[in-house]
């Protein structure tokens, strides 16, 4: 067990190293003078000089990388070029909003995907199966920004059922908060639902063909009990395995969803900082997203090793 943990942790280090190199390169390998790009053409000479000094542009690249990394490990993500506030503070401020959106979207996704997959796998090659497959395919083909616009048009502009966009903290006005989250959660959850549905369907079909399911049948359990009590637990394994991928999809989708629905979260921050060329903020956002995914993957692997001895005993394919 501990050998597996050590190995897994050691494998994470080079990944984190490359993540940091990529994020660092994003800004430092732009052709031209980064200070001028950030401040614009009309910036004063003094402001440019000050920013160059702050970024250490007068030093060699690898020194800048090491200095940057050193600050990073101490929790210093740099300061926003726009408002001068520490990047990390702004990130942490925006995060709860996106976490709320991610959770509600994940709930929407699983609420659609799990019943649909069970139905499709159970009644295989029936009309249910084909319908679920078709909806799944449509789900991954609909661009989420269009889905968002159409929902606003239908539910907010035409039927006036829901407010079109905006955000209120749940502790200020919970019912308005929830009403505002309905459409964004559907938009962000639907693509994920399609992914989870396709995966869970094929994994259920596989599990339903195993010996222990046959044994459960032989005991005289009916189909429903077999699926609910035995099959679905194991079929969920691949779905949990791709938790990191799902988080990655949620964070990427949040960029679009938060922009359409004017939600002041992490994704909106990404777009705003990119459009205003606030590069320290861009770096912070990108780095934060990647770290979240790396750590989620690490966590999932650790939990597995703990729950399933086969995983920690087996040599992972290189």
């Amino acid at each position: 067990m501990s050998r597996f943990l050590v190995r897994r942790l050691l494998l994470t280090l080079p990944v984190l190293f490359f993540v940091s190199v990529i994020v660092f390169s994003l800004i430092n390998l732009i052709p031209g003078d980064p200070a001028r790009i950030m401040l614009g053409e009309e910036a004063s000479k003094e402001a440019l000089e000050a920013l160059r000094k702050q970024m250490g542009l007068d030093r060699p690249l690898y020194v800048r990388y090491l200095l940057w990394l050193n600050r990073l490990v101490r929790g210093d993500f740099g300061k926003s070029v726009r408002d001068g506030r520490p990047v990390l503070d702004t990130l942490l401020l925006k995060l709860p909003t996106t976490i709320e959106l991610a959770i509600t979207s994940l709930l929407v996704a699983w609420a659609i995907a799990i019943p649909a997959a069970v139905l499709a796998a159970w009644k295989r090659r029936s009309a249910w199966d084909y319908a679920a497959t078709a909806v799944g395919l449509a789900g991954i083909s609909i661009p989420n920004f269009w889905l968002g616009i159409m929902l606003i048009y239908l539910l907010a502009v035409n039927l006036r059922l829901l407010p079109p966009s905006g955000y209120v903290e749940p502790w200020i006005d919970l019912s308005r908060n929830l009403r505002l989250m309905v459409m964004p959660s559907i938009v962000l959850g639907s693509a994920l639902a399609a992914l989870v549905m396709r995966l869970l369907r094929s994994s259920l079909i596989e599990v339903l063909g195993t010996d222990y399911v046959r044994t459960a049948h032989a005991k005289g359990l009916n189909e429903r009990a077999v699926i609910v009590r035995h099959a679905i637990k194991n079929a969920m394994i691949p779905v949990v395995t791709i938790m990191g991928l799902q988080l990655s999809g949620l964070l990427g989708g949040a960029v679009i969803t938060e922009t359409i629905f004017a939600i002041p979260g992490f994704g909106r921050l990404a777009v705003d900082s990119i459009l205003t060329r606030d590069y320290p903020m861009v770096q912070g956002v990108v780095l934060f997203a990647a770290l979240a995914v790396v750590l989620t993957n690490l966590f999932v692997d650790m939990v597995y090793a703990f729950l399933d001895p086969r995983i920690r005993l087996e040599e992972r394919p290189a």
């Binding site: 990944v15 395919l137 094929s202 990655s248 964070l251």
Partner: protein
């Protein structure tokens, strides 16, 4: 991928006589045509490609000519899909938009394959230090949410369709490195590779003549599905203002503008979205059909 039966059939033969299992095109076509949906998808894809090529003849008006006496007009016989905020014909813009989208899809996936396939081949064939480094690097790249990385790259490279295609291409590259590497890892252990080596073939010849033809199918399938994703990505970047720049018609930027006129001119938002949906769906159907036709084992799943 090679089926066990093929390995047995070709394993004992001299390398020159052990090519990839090249099913005839007619055979593949018949297998493909058994899937009705895939067939429909393919026809729609061909129709869209035709629309893109012949856009100047298909489009009723100029896609960029403004007409300030005809702003935000609902669909009429003159402008069957209506006009936009600058009085431009929406139908013509949607038709010319196929060019932008297909170009973006093909070129960005082309970039990803051109970089990813050779790296994956070398990485899987030689293993060792190169492989270790590349695998951790792809792990790192795959840790970034796809759209976040594409956005950041597009921001650094600057706005514009060409830069967006490069950004999307780079983001898709690790996927192709991983796929081709995994394929090579299983192929290099096959008997036919050993036979080729025994008959004196060098590394380059083995990779190029023997392994590459055997891994083309999965790469082709992934390329087609990635094209669909790349088209969505270009539309997303343009929607956020970082992809195609005005006045070039792009479905994503059309939707960006349409957002502001949802209550007064909703027709502006319908067609670009429907166009993306149909294009992406039909490419996905074609890709799924290809996968089934090329890999018989998937039939049962």
């Amino acid at each position: 991928m090679r089926r066990p039966a093929d390995a047995v059939l070709t394993g004992g033969l001299p390398a020159e006589h052990a090519p990839a299992p090249r099913y005839g095109l007619a055979y593949l076509g018949r297998r493909y045509a058994r899937n009705r949906l895939a067939l429909v998808g393919l026809w729609v894809v061909l129709l869209i490609i035709g629309t893109a090529i012949f856009a100047p003849w298909v489009a009723p008006h100029s896609p960029i000519k403004t007409n300030f006496e005809n702003l935000l007009k609902p669909p009429t016989s003159g402008h069957i899909l209506g006009t936009d905020d600058l009085g431009r014909d929406i139908a013509s813009r949607v038709i010319y938009g196929t060019r932008t989208s297909l170009l973006a899809g093909l070129i960005s996936v082309g970039i990803a394959v051109a970089i990813g396939l050779p790296l994956g081949l070398l990485s899987g064939f030689y293993r060792g230090r190169l492989d270790d480094v590349l695998m951790r690097l792809t792990d790192a790249m795959l840790s970034f949410p796809f759209l976040v990385l594409a956005l950041a790259l597009a921001a650094v490279l600057g706005a514009g369709l060409d830069r967006a295609m490069i950004a999307i291409g780079i983001v898709f590259t690790p996927g192709f490195i991983r796929l081709s590497r995994a394929q090579v890892l299983s192929e290099r252990e096959q008997n036919y590779v050993e036979a080729a080596r025994a008959s004196g073939a060098g590394d380059g010849r083995i990779i190029w003549r023997h392994i590459l033809p055997n891994i083309v199918s999965p790469v082709l399938v992934q390329a087609s599905l990635s094209t669909a994703a790349a088209i969505t990505a270009e539309a997303a970047l343009s929607f956020l203002g970082l992809g195609t720049q005005p006045p070039t018609p792009s479905w994503g930027s059309m939707l960006n503008i349409a957002q502001a006129y949802l209550s007064t001119a909703p027709w502006m938002a319908w067609w670009p979205g429907i166009a993306i949906f149909i294009t992406v769906l039909s490419i996905n159907l074609t890709g799924d059909g290809l996968r089934e036709a090329l890999d018989p084992r998937l039939r049962s799943v």
